[in-house]
Symmetry: D2
Amino acid sequence: MKVNETPIQVRYQETDMMGVVYHANYLVWFEIGRTSFIDSLGFKYAEIEKEGVVSPVIDASMSFKNPVRYGEEAAVKTWVKEYDGLRVTYGYEVVHNDGETAVTGETKHVIVKKDNFRPVSIRRSFPDWHEAYLQAMEKTS
Amino acid sequence: MKVNETPIQVRYQETDMMGVVYHANYLVWFEIGRTSFIDSLGFKYAEIEKEGVVSPVIDASMSFKNPVRYGEEAAVKTWVKEYDGLRVTYGYEVVHNDGETAVTGETKHVIVKKDNFRPVSIRRSFPDWHEAYLQAMEKTS
Amino acid sequence: MKVNETPIQVRYQETDMMGVVYHANYLVWFEIGRTSFIDSLGFKYAEIEKEGVVSPVIDASMSFKNPVRYGEEAAVKTWVKEYDGLRVTYGYEVVHNDGETAVTGETKHVIVKKDNFRPVSIRRSFPDWHEAYLQAMEKTS
Amino acid sequence: MKVNETPIQVRYQETDMMGVVYHANYLVWFEIGRTSFIDSLGFKYAEIEKEGVVSPVIDASMSFKNPVRYGEEAAVKTWVKEYDGLRVTYGYEVVHNDGETAVTGETKHVIVKKDNFRPVSIRRSFPDWHEAYLQAMEKTS
């Protein structure tokens, strides 16, 4: 299974008055991990949208273990957890500098037409991407 | 079971280039619903933090059914789904103007000391709040 | 001069580790004030965009006097400061509950076509809105 | 004059339904540029806060020339524009990949005690930082 790791520079704006990163921001970090993962497969999510489709999240879950603070160097690990040709579930782990887990989670996505949000089969409409997903699930990173 | 409903005015800033509310913002709307729910129990979350504790999220999950768009009037319904004296799980439903479900989800919280993030028992340290939670779970709204 | 006042409920998400509202969020509050001001003129910004135009900010300035904190009730006052048929400058004052000034600022906007960002004359393309701006500048609120 | 340049990876979350980066997010990019600039002087803003002070923005202005879009590679250039031992004004220029200006702006900061927001002299309390600012203004980068 291919795992992509992306460094995250904590923004002051991402903290809250608890003195730690506000919980919803980890979902944004998942987005950064996902974009980087797709890049590492040789695709650009921005290019995919130019074909008139978007890839909304349909389910998300997160488990918060240990908060990240401003000034720390964190990273997000991303991989494909499940994929059936139509829906893809990414897994994530945000880690502290010392490797300790900060947050784990997953997001499930579909591809839909931008104008009417009707589902599109990745297998049929994006065969290269389909192949890349299958390989990413098998590959030992 | 007590259910609190809070109107949400969609901010332009909350939309993304998909033309809908960016998914992580619904977690912020859950926060708004939770704050309003706590208000409706007669407490102020801001006052609780003045006692040196904070209430981080330890788990969250969301299911996205139907995106909310700018210009729409939405609302978030909030209730207490589970509570054991130590951890509280809130349930949420974001609804469109016509009552249709936009997003459902839940967040689980604990109370911890602000300076060291050590857990605090709600039952023992905040008995009034404890009682209010128990009543909120029983009450027919 | 017409001045519109909109209450603001501070979101926990809007705070930072300084314990106050993160400065960039006041620009979002200005957006809320502006939307509410346009509503008070009898228009809906969301409807205007359906005609294929958008209204980007071309200049903004802010002066931070006294930070707003979570749990406080704040409000944003909005008015039209300058208008020449093409460009409109809104003035803003964020006030604390006791009327003290928190932040002042202004944003200058144009109307452009959504597809190519070419400028559109408000005077010629949106005569009703043009009239409303002129009246808003004269009116004693 | 020392000018520091920091690459910016546009986040999908930073876009709005206009299809471009939401204007308030450039203030966050300015924060990223400022943090990187301070790093380049050999300091860490996160360490400075551990001494019980924070550095709020007291004035900000921005001029939006040309919006940045998702998928683009942008950068923020940062320098010290004015400094008098007490207040520092940073200048910023967000540039597109081809060097074209996207946004220009500046932010003015003071240093205050975290607990009471009383001003602190940089010259007297942070002499090393004071020296670094003076050099940054003279140096040809």
